[in-house]
Symmetry: C2
Subunit: 403 residues, 2 copies
C-alpha cells in the first residue's frame, strides 16, 4: 500500500539506557517519516523537515475507511493509550475508555494515537537530532503550537489513507487538539469528543505553566536546554514542575479525601522537613517518577503550545467564527471539580458552537476528582462517551458493526 | 521601666550587605532579648535560648494599658506594618488598615507588630547565629509551630507590661496566630479579628507549601540549608517557590482581569520562552523581587509551621473544645474568591465558636481579588474592621479616646 511507504516500525524511544531492557517485552510504536518533500509548516514560520510521528493503532480499518478514531493525548501522555507502556511498564493511560467492551472497542474502530510533534516518545521534538548540526535540537527546536500538532496528525492520517475520521477524541491538551481539528479540518471530523478542555489557556493556566518552566530552567542541570550534551537531565527542576502541575490536576476535595492531614507511617509530627504528611510523600513520588519518562525540554515546548492556544484569537476574537457552517457532531464534557479547565470554559465553547448552529451535546459530570477525572474510572463519563459514539456511529452507518 | 530591661534598638537585620545602605533612612526595629532564664519552650520539646524578638510599635500605651493591639503578620510579612520597609523602601504592608484615620489609628491604639520566631527580619530564626556553634543555625534550627510563635509573642507582651490585649488582628498565617492566641490565652485577648485564615491547613494548602519547599531544596545553592557558609543564597529555588505561592494568592478572575492573555510589549507571540504574556512577566518579577528580602530557610520553617497548624487536632479533634467558655469577641472575615483559605474554612470556625457560645460576627466579603484581598484596598473590609473595633472599644471603655 503506497501510502504506507514511509511507515516503519522502530523501537519505542527510551528516556535512558536503563529503559532499553523493556523493549523486548512491549509493543514498539510505528513511525511515519516525512522527508524533504513533505515539510511540516509551523505557525512560527519555519518548515520542519525531516520529521517523524510515532503512533500506535488498535483494531482494523474497515473497507470504506469510515471507522477511524484519532485519540489526542494530553500534556504528559503519549501514544501508548491502550497497551503496556514501554518505559514505565504500566497499563495504557486510557484503558478505561479504549479496549474490549469499552466505549472505544478495537473490535469496532480503527483507533490511532500519535505522539504529538514536540513530544518525547518517538515523534520529532527537542530531544531529537537536528539534522543541520548532528546534535540534539534542544532549544533550537522551533516553538510549536496546538495547530502544528494537528497539522502533523493530518499528514499522518493522509499517510494512512484516511480522508475523514469518524471521531477525534481527547481530554485536556488532547481536547484542545480535538477542537483545533474541527476548526482546521471540519470536513475531516465526523464527530468530536472534547473533554475537560478549553478553547484558550487562561491567565491562571499560563501562570501555572510558567511556574513549571521556571522550575525546569532554574535547575543548573538544564544548561540552557543543552543538558543532553552534558549527559545529564534536569531531574530536580522537572520534578518540581510536575508537582506543581499535579496539584492542579486534583481538586481540593479529592486531596482532602485521599490524604487529608494524615501522617505518613506515624501519628506525631517529626518536627523536620521529612514528608510527614501523606500528601507530601505522594507529591514527591509524582515528581520523581515523572522524570524517568519525560524530557524536560519537551515539557517546556508542550506547555508553551498550550499557552499559545486561543481559537478565538485565531478568528478575530470571535469564537463562533471558528465553527461557521460546521457539520461535525460535538460532545463536550466537563467535570464539576475541575478548576484547571472549569465548566465555564466548556460552556463558552458550547455557546459558540450553538451560535454556529453546530450539533452539540454538553455534559457536566458531578465528581470531586478534579481535572484528572477524565483519566479515571468515572462511569457516568463512559456512559456519555459510549452513547455519543453509538449515536454518531449509527448516523455514519457503522451501526451494524458496533451494536 | 524594669520590664523593658531587655529591650534595645538595633539595626534592622538586612538580607545582604547591599541593603545596609537603607539603614540610615528608615526606622530600626526594637528588639526584645530573652536570656537563659527565659527560654522559649517549643512544641518540638526543645527550649530555645537565647532568643530575640524584633518588633515595631505605633502610638502610645494608655495609662491603664488597655489599648494595646497586636498585629500578627503573614508568611512573608514582617513587623514593618505601617512604616517604610528598611530593605525594600516600600510602604508598610498594612498601611491600608493601620495609620492616621485608618481603622487602627495610632492616635487611639498602641499597636505592636513583631517578627515571628523563625522569621528573618530580626527575630531569632534559621538565619540567626547558633550560640552553640558560632555559625548560622540553618536546618539545625528547631522546627517551630504557630503556637511557638504565639508563645514568643506572649513573652514580648509580658515584657511590655501588657496583661490583656485589646485586640489581636491578622490575616492568613497572621489569622492563624490570632486564633492560636484565643485558644492559648483566652483571658489575654479582649477581641480577635481573624481574616482570610483557617484553623488548620488543608491537604491542598500543604501540597502547595511542599511544592515551594521542594523548589528551594532542589536548588543546589541551598546546600542542605548551609548556603550562608558558602556565601550564597538559593535565589532560583526560592523565586520558584514564591511564584507558586503567588498564584495561590490571586483568584483566577483577578488574574484574568489584571492580565488576561495580554502580551508583554507586543501583539504577536515571539515563539520563544521569553515572557510573552504579561502574567509571565509579573510572576517572574514577584519571584525575583522576593528573594532580595527573604531568607530561604525561613521560608521552609514558616511554611512548615502553617502546615502543622491544626487547632482541632490539638483539642482531641473537636474544634469547639479549643474555645470553651471563651469571652473574647471574635470577628471572622473571609473573601468570596479566596481559594487558599475559602469561606468554608471560616464557616467551620464560626460554627465551632457558636458551639462554644462565643461572641462572634462573621463577614464574607464579595470580591474577585482572591486571598490577597486582605492586603488590598477593599473598603467593605475596612468598614467591617472599623465597626468591630469601635464596638469592642466601646465595651472595653476605650470610647472616649476612639470617637
Amino acid at each position: 500500500m503506497s501510502e504506507m511507504g514511509g511507515v516503519k516500525s522502530v523501537p519505542s524511544p527510551a528516556i535512558s539506557a536503563d529503559d532499553r531492557s523493556h523493549e523486548a517485552d512491549h509493543p514498539n510504536s510505528q513511525v511515519a517519516q516525512f522527508g524533504a518533500e513533505q515539510p511540516l509548516r509551523l505557525d512560527c514560520g519555519i518548515d520542519l523537515t525531516p520529521f517523524q510521528i510515532a503512533y500506535q493503532t488498535y483494531g482494523e480499518l474497515n473497507a470504506d475507511r469510515s471507522n477511524a478514531v484519532l485519540i489526542c493525548h494530553a500534556l504528559t501522555g503519549d501514544q501508548h493509550v491502550a497497551n503496556v507502556h514501554p518505559v514505565t511498564g504500566k497499563s495504557g493511560w486510557w484503558e478505561t475508555l479504549v479496549g474490549p467492551g469499552r466505549p472505544l472497542d478495537p473490535q469496532h474502530y480503527f483507533i490511532i494515537c500519535a505522539n504529538v510533534i514536540g513530544g518525547c516518545m518517538g515523534s520529532t521534538g527537542p530531544a531529537s537530532i537536528n539534522p543541520a548540526t548532528g546534535k540534539v535540537w534542544g532549544l533550537d527546536f522551533p516553538v510549536i503550537t496546538i495547530p502544528d500538532m494537528v497539522r502533523a496528525q493530518a499528514m499522518l492520517i493522509d499517510r494512512l489513507g484516511i480522508v475523514t475520521l469518524f471521531a477525534v477524541v481527547g481530554g485536556s491538551m488532547g481536547g484542545m487538539q480535538v477542537l483545533q481539528w474541527t476548526a482546521a479540518y471540519p470536513k475531516r471530523v465526523y464527530s468530536a469528543l472534547a473533554i475537560a478542555c478549553a478553547t484558550r489557556h487562561s491567565a491562571q493556566n499560563i501562570a501555572f505553566h510558567e511556574l513549571g518552566r521556571q522550575a525546569v530552567m532554574a535547575d543548573p542541570d538544564w544548561h540552557n536546554g543543552r543538558y543532553t550534551d552534558q549527559g545529564i537531565h534536569p531531574h530536580r527542576g522537572l520534578a518540581v514542575a510536575r508537582m506543581a502541575a499535579h496539584i492542579t490536576y486534583l481538586s481540593d476535595a479529592a486531596l482532602h479525601r485521599k490524604f487529608g492531614r494524615r501522617m505518613q507511617d506515624r501519628e506525631l509530627p517529626t518536627f523536620s522537613f521529612d514528608a510527614d504528611f501523606q500528601v507530601e510523600s505522594y507529591l514527591r513520588y509524582q515528581g520523581s517518577s515523572f522524570v524517568e519518562r519525560f524530557d524536560a525540554n519537551s515539557y517546556l515546548y508542550l506547555t508553551r503550545a498550550m499557552d499559545y492556544f486561543d481559537i478565538a484569537g485565531d478568528h478575530g476574537g470571535v469564537l463562533a467564527k471558528a465553527f461557521v457552517g460546521i457539520e461535525t457532531r460535538f460532545c463536550v464534557v466537563s467535570f464539576t471539580s475541575d478548576w484547571l479547565f472549569p465548566t465555564s470554559e466548556s460552556r463558552a465553547l458550547v455557546h459558540a458552537l450553538n451560535a454556529s448552529s453546530a450539533r452539540v451535546s454538553f455534559a457536566e459530570i458531578e465528581t470531586d476528582r478534579g481535572h484528572d477525572a477524565f483519566l479515571l474510572d468515572v462511569p457516568e463519563f463512559f456512559d456519555i462517551a459510549r452513547a455519543f459514539l453509538q449515536s454518531a456511529g449509527k448516523a455514519r452507518g457503522l451501526t451494524a458493526r458496533i451494536d
